[in-house]
Subunit: 130 residues, 6 copies
């Protein structure tokens, strides 16, 4: 028996209901994903995460597609299946092509390899990088 | 006493010397960074990594700047100081602005947070993502 | 076909059987969890882990509930589903409320985020912390 | 040459200056730690992180000392030196004894070990935890 | 709906088909594992990974069995279920006994524990190791 | 100011002194490394870790050299500098050649890469591995 169950839309009240409505409106979706339904167990976390994500993922110097690809790159590195699946899809919806995702995965693989080559050889930081 | 010392340019021979020359030519630099000097302890690893990185980081569906930002995002997640420092600089040289790097770091922070919210609440995968 | 199968209670002999009996008595449970049944493939690992965990998780300067919450915090960070599920339940049995678990998850999320902000900005250690 | 330099107090303006003043007042310190000075390169990240941390680390169902210990536990798991050093000190200031920190470290060690025993043996989730 | 589907053998063409044939011949298997079928979404990644793995995993100063055990050790540390399952099996096929795998898992557990004891106590590097 | 200082040999008493003497005798060294001096802040952790490490790292189905290489492989993956440096040296003392360490690092790099390719493509587990 899991400790927390997702808070279904019918059971949402007060601030949780408000945020559910905003998520559906902003994201143009009709159903709240399990991520938000789970966070709703702690309304403060739900609100803070929703507000923070909107700020961080909005168009800025970087395109939203690039931000989603970076998001997936981190999730792949951490091995978070839910996050990889949901944000790969989000990347596609925002315009990422399969080629872009393929190349992102290749970069993530190489970075994870070379990060360990650096640790394995205990590479000293070049003067130029200090 | 470290197990491996960087192979200095004066001591490079054969395949190692060839790759050193190629790195300097392709990257338009006059000094080999410590990363390559360390990998040179295993010429096979040096050659394979140099070839692979050129293939993976070349312009494709993704711009080389975006690829460098993804590279740094992974290195930040893994806590690899050398990699963060050297590839942040590489990103800048390829055209990344400080604003772009600031935003990338913000995304990496949020992704690392929400990856753990997913694990903490054991969020189930939505039907739509399967 | 998995390399190792859990050692069922009926098949337990010698030291493994003794430890199974002790686990059931100390933990006041009637069935051995899969974790211990799997470790039983290496009786030395089974015994060492059981002894070590009892020492580390016992009441000390920290309350056993706090220790379980720390345990879950690490498991969430590492993305170990089995560990999150089993130790969240253990925390609850020892008296953790849902509010406590909700707050622990929020701290784990923030710590994982700020750990990466530190790496991203390569924050230098303040004199006061040295 | 690092990409970002800490924003010193004398160079802080507008929102950054306001937050610096608030940090000093709330934390009762006379000097801004490097963490905040680095985040100030992105005023949005500075503000969001400061606001979020105050919300997450405040007294709730969990004592602030316990929250700091959980924070350190995550930072130890991620190998973030700055974070371990600064939050261990924060824990002490809020009342953590050396015994408490010693025990937290022991739990973090064991959790990291058993997380991998679970992965190594591919332990199946017990019916009771589903 | 997943972003990428495995490329089945019947749908493989050109370079992908060639590599599938080589994998089956070299590995003496009749069916391509899902790992390679997934990588085939990016033929460059498929070819590079297949070539690199053959070079890295071949008999050298280390026996192929030892290399597979190291491979599993990393995969256990990263929590990659597919990798643990497939490479544990590969290790067995190359001659690893259950005792060897049991001992490898025990070392991985202890290393993950002591890595964090080092971080928790912020152990300074001894002169002898510098 | 660090929370914990290493317990110097002159200040060691009781159980700590006994274990220091045993470490020097068993390891045939004249000075206690900082790792053990730091753990001595918690005599229980010192004793448990010393006993456990001796059991886990002893000659068994795997050679002690192979066990040290696995230890380093995990430490490289986790980015623990102290652990990489001290256990690489330990591996050498037990007979590892530079070629063996070079090959181990190459395997660690590839495993970290392919672990992420698996996550990136969300590779499904083959029937044969279940």
């Amino acid at each position: 028996m899991p400790i927390f169950k997702p808070i279904e839309e019918n059971d949402a009240k007060g601030k949780v209901k408000e945020i559910y409505d905003e998520i559906k409106k902003v994201r143009k979706i009709t159903e709240i994903p399990n991520f938000w339904k789970s966070l709703a167990n702690n309304p403060e976390t739900l609100e803070r995460t929703w507000t923070s994500l909107q700020q961080v993922m909005k168009k800025g110097a970087l395109d939203p597609v690039v931000k989603e690809l970076i998001y997936v790159a981190v999730s792949v590195t951490n091995g978070c299946e839910y996050c990889v699946k949901s944000h790969s899809l989000a990347a596609k919806k925002k315009g990422a092509t399969n080629d872009m995702i393929n190349e992102m995965i290749a970069v993530v693989g190489m970075a994870n390899e070379t990060n360990r080559l650096v640790e394995g050889y205990q590479v000293e930081i070049d003067e130029a990088y200090k």
